[in-house]
Symmetry: D3
Subunit: 155 residues, 6 copies
């Protein structure tokens, strides 16, 4: 059980102590995908060049959600984020979401990047669900992380 830092030796949840870890620059990149029909994708992109379109709403929701990560994920440490960028791009069969998050802190921002991606995907679903309820959020995953004692990692 010792492999799970948020679970103590008696099997109970805790926010693990990071007070001995150095505050260093850390970055994480995550991605996800909202699969939809070609007709819905056309609708999503129809607003291009206009304010308030579907992609802008999702990007902004993702940035704001990154800042709420420690309120949403019970054992997640609050961190002062130094950068958040969320991008929604059209791709084969749907919309692809990427989030890049940085902090100067004692622990990484993987959860912040994944939360930004998830909420951007949910927002795309919300904006487009009047056209297609069968959309699926897929492949939400960490792409890479850099910084911190555990070193760099990429998928």
């Amino acid at each position: 059980m010792s492999k799970l830092t948020h679970i103590d030796e008696t099997g109970r949840a805790r926010m693990v102590d990071v007070s001995d870890k150095a505050a260093t620059v850390r970055e994480a990149v995550a991605e996800g995908f909202v699969r939809m029909s070609a007709a819905t994708l056309d609708l999503a992109l129809a607003g291009e060049g206009r304010k308030g379109d579907v992609r802008a709403v999702a990007e902004i929701a993702g940035v704001m959600a990154a800042k709420q990560t420690s309120s949403l994920i019970p054992m997640c440490h609050p961190l002062a984020l130094s950068k958040v960028e969320v991008r929604v791009e059209p791709a084969e069969g749907g919309l692809a979401v990427t989030a890049r998050v940085k902090t100067t802190g004692p622990t990484g921002v993987e959860m912040e990047a994944l939360t930004a991606v998830s909420v951007a995907c949910l927002t795309l679903y919300d904006m487009l669900k009047a056209a297609e309820k069968g959309m699926v959020i897929e492949a939400v995953r960490l792409v890479s992380k850099t910084g911190g004692k555990s070193g760099d990692w990429s998928a």
Copy 2:
């Protein structure tokens, strides 16, 4: 563009007017999946029978997230939820999450159910990431909705 209720005729985002819709009982069920190695799944289930284990943390996080849906999704209406239940069950290749949400209100709870599932999946990732950073959140989707003028729907 008229198919997207959260976008007005000029292409800008809005929270659509639901004041003419009747407050009726509505329910939505959503699901998602966190794919992981057999070793990580064993770790996740090792806490079975003990308090605070991985699945309980994710279920509770999902219930609490459902109540934050309208704070996270920009154009989502605030709703008084009358029931939220989130369940995490072991499955082939990972952990499956299901959320059931009900309201008596003027609009549906699809987003609440999907948000509960997404945050429960993110919490599972957070609780288990010390063991495996390559886990993937997959197949987050609406299973069914009932109630409301647009009628019932199932995937």
Copy 3:
């Protein structure tokens, strides 16, 4: 186990379904007490007649906390509160806090009243802790509830 409505038959937590319950007027009154030395109580009351004094800050914090109850208590239903009043009064050995909360909804506001009292007590502690760290929050309890199918109750 059936006596605990927030626990299902398998022992797992859920927000219980209240969609069949009528929306009726419900009220709850709760109280608590912050025990402190006579010197600290004098300090607390020294601001009487001046703006921003200790009691006003605690009363306002209590009202605002009542509105956050469903964000803080995992299985608590979100409710549209129709009245919140929090009062801090000097008493023998400390400050007494009372909260009165009303709703027109499908479930009671006991948790809202207790949360308002608890946060008002915590705020009193915060405002006065520079003078005395040994203060104790005591006797936080429900005084009465009215309305709803389960009927009236008083301590």
Copy 4:
């Protein structure tokens, strides 16, 4: 003092009791203005036709802020909003913001409309402050309200 419903007869703040008021459709419109130099206004409008531009960010922030009104304004009742629309338009000497909010509830949405306008104005300031710190938020006011026992009102 009886004219101020959020202050009781002893001069202390409270969230006034609205449980006897009928839940009816109510609407409020508010407006505000961010005064800026012609150069800054040009910059603000330069993103026109592109995603994520200044105006879209402010409109979305305004909608989301309307939903946080009762968390920000101490004595404000939580309400289930049925519509929120925020629009930012170029005007002589700056950007004009208008918010329209509706509810079916026991009290009005004036504060929600004013909060949406204020936060949209603050967001415009934030997006443009790298160009001009001397911008001024002006003329934030209620334009009209309809519904409720106190009847209609317009500025």
Copy 5:
């Protein structure tokens, strides 16, 4: 477009990267004004010397709002505030609000000071609107900022 740090080269919004900026002491002062009739101003000041009066509620709301700034303003960085002070003073034709905010961080607290002022003004409106709906929030602006690489600034 490069003048707007929260907009990238493609015109899309982002929270700009501040991870290379030093954490230094920074302060900002902002002000605003709520214009009202002499009769309403009298009402507002009638509670002087009593707990919970109108000015105290607005000052406390302003302090609490400063801490929510990064949740309200989409591209605003979360910062650990080291001081917040909000003061409401009677002035010719209404109530004047001033906020002083400090941080030790990588970016300034202009938005926190402006948000504190705006929410204090909104709270004054809410507390007094039963007497006069036509009040106007005016002249919300940055007075000065100190600290940080861009140097000091005053209006």
Copy 6:
């Protein structure tokens, strides 16, 4: 009045300036107790060995509440918590709650530990209130604090 750091020389509330205080490791431990009948205590412990039981829900709620402390307590500084652990244990006549919180910051985490305890106690009440409304939250107090210029303290 100078003994109360959150009150200025004119008797008005403020978040005291901590920008001159060093960021050092600080820890606080707090405790509280929920008194209940033997029958209710049996019910609370009946879920032992099962997921989602009463104690796990309260422990998780306590951890999450610690992170919301500065949103709930008006003059409390926001802090980046580096550890939160909440434990609920059966004791004579009820359930005992203990919280341990750490930060590396300019001010202590007494309020965070007390808030975690209070919300865990409230959650126990919520989970068990269907069985006994007369439970009482007692003896919420600081046990010890370490770190910071004012030195160590224990009850």
